[in-house]
Symmetry: C2
Subunit: 322 residues, 2 copies
């Protein structure tokens, strides 16, 4: 494909168009991802996640600058909630990333959420693959909020940085709980605020608690708890170092390849599932599907029974392909 | 099933055990849901969602009290982020709901997040079905946070209440954008704080903007923007009234049945997908699956090619069932 070749050769406009195909899951998306697949697998994918108000975007901005200064090319994928009526991002991180603008070694993509559960995780995963294929050394995936989908997006990263901040109130604090178990590096940002030391202590305590319950699996990664004031650039170098150390750990321990395989496995299952569903729905047809739906909604039959009946009909009519 | 019969007869302990089966997707979960299905379809399912710090839990608590006072039985499903190491909820809403304790007309279920994307939406949807079947008139589904999965949970409700609060900062404000389009009732809680009037105005402005772009589809629901101070019970009656008015609108317009059918359709697709994937994975076997995964991770083939090859092998070996 012409567009793929251009993007692989470093053409930024071609890259942007590939990403649009992939984000919208267009007719060409599969062919594009297939063509790019052999070129993937080199990038270090770093998830940066945390509750609202922790200053993740600022930290991502600073991380990108430091990584560039070290000579790495950097992709940034910012997963923003969609604006209700325009479909675009309200607080586009492109705005905040202005001091990176004009540097061809950085590419920032702000994503609007795509509506369906799982759609966003898939689209952002595909965007990360494209950036990997065209040669970005590190891709920072920033997820706003702390919902389940965001946690799942972070989970597909090699290294997950969880960002906290002191004094965000009880409810926000509770949100972090689900994030702790996926953290490879913990950052207490806004560390010049009151309560930073307690936040570090609390996180360290929770980590120690978790460590006790999962002992002796060979060399273990100990998630460091770091403090930053990202707005002033304070402590950011240490975060860059911790990210690099985690990468080295993953490669040394064989976990890097294991994570690649886990990602391949979940991709494979997801695409299989979708292909199978498409096949059966095409075979059943919209009219018959609607009849099953009406029977379920009218409580004439339950969903499991309908599934079984549909499978039976399909398998009876299904002639093995040549 | 004995347990189902007991729960339908009003036994709370049996209900709790049913919910545990359903939440854990146990071996009996399918049979339980199938047995309960004919009893579902009467409850009014109300999603209450919003950014962290808006006071959703307090509002839910107050709504439950008013609905009880009107003679309705009330289920509350609180979807909390999981505690990292215990698997339980950190700030269990059971704690906050203490003034409802001892009233057999209220049942509160606090859910820990279940790890996988989609898992939580499915489990909470199933919990709501159980509460519907055993006869709760209204079920309030409170989602903490504002991630994509939470939005999807809210989307399965008949009526979605989106809660805001003044002065939560830019990032939190941005989160609300994705929620606005699913709002049937908007509440600015903590309305005694500075900035409440501006928050109402801003929301009203965004609603008006959206209304212009989708004109003339018959009788339209106009989401009201209400103000509450839930902690003092101020304005909560108006929220209860708006929820009831929205229910009447859904029934009058035929949207109630349409939402039931949408829910049935997405349930059917989800379960079909799962059943098909289980079939093919069982046929392929773990060893062969792992070989495909390794080939993808080693970049010897792309995921789409692997899917196609697996489907081909499966269909060739697939004998139609009797």
């Amino acid at each position: 494909m012409e567009l793929v070749a251009q993007a692989l050769a470093g053409n930024r406009r071609a890259l942007a168009r590939l990403l649009t195909h992939v984000e919208n899951n267009s007719a060409q998306a599969r062919a594009i991802l297939a063509a790019l697949h052999p070129h993937t697998g080199r990038a270090h994918i770093v998830g940066v996640t945390g509750a609202p108000g922790t200053g993740k975007s600022t930290l991502v901005n600073e991380l990108a600058k430091r990584l560039r200064a070290q000579g790495h090319t950097v992709g940034v994928v910012a997963v923003d909630p969609s604006s209700p009526f325009s479909g675009g991002a309200l607080l586009g991180d492109r705005v905040r990333m202005q001091d990176l603008a004009g540097d061809s070694g950085v590419f920032v993509r702000s994503m609007a959420t795509r509506g369906s559960l799982g759609g966003l995780a898939q689209a952002s995963g595909d965007v990360v693959k494209v950036l990997d294929a065209v040669g970005f050394d590190v891709t920072l995936v920033e997820t706003v909020g702390a919902g389940q989908a965001e946690v799942d997006i972070a989970r597909t990263a090699h290294t997950t940085v969880v960002v906290e901040a002191p004094g965000l109130g009880d409810e926000v604090q509770a949100l972090k709980a689900g994030l702790l178990e996926i953290a490879d590096v913990l950052v207490v940002n806004k560390a010049d605020r009151p309560g930073a030391a307690q936040a570090v202590q609390a996180l360290q305590g929770m980590l120690d608690l978790g460590r006790d319950s999962a002992p002796g699996r060979g060399e273990e990664w100990q998630p460091p708890v770091l403090q930053t004031v990202a707005l002033d650039g304070v402590g950011v170098d240490e975060v860059v170092e911790a990210i690099a150390a985690h990468r080295a750990y993953l490669q040394r321990s064989g976990l890097w390849m294991r994570r690649e395989q886990e990602r391949a496995r979940s991709d494979l299952k997801r695409l299989l599932e979708r292909a199978l569903l498409e096949q059966i729905l095409a075979a059943v047809g919209e009219e018959e599907l609607q009849r099953w739906v009406e029977r379920i909604a009218a409580r004439e039959m339950d969903t499991f029974a309908a599934v079984q009946a549909m499978l039976d009909v399909w398998q009876k009519n299904h002639t093995p392909s040549q």
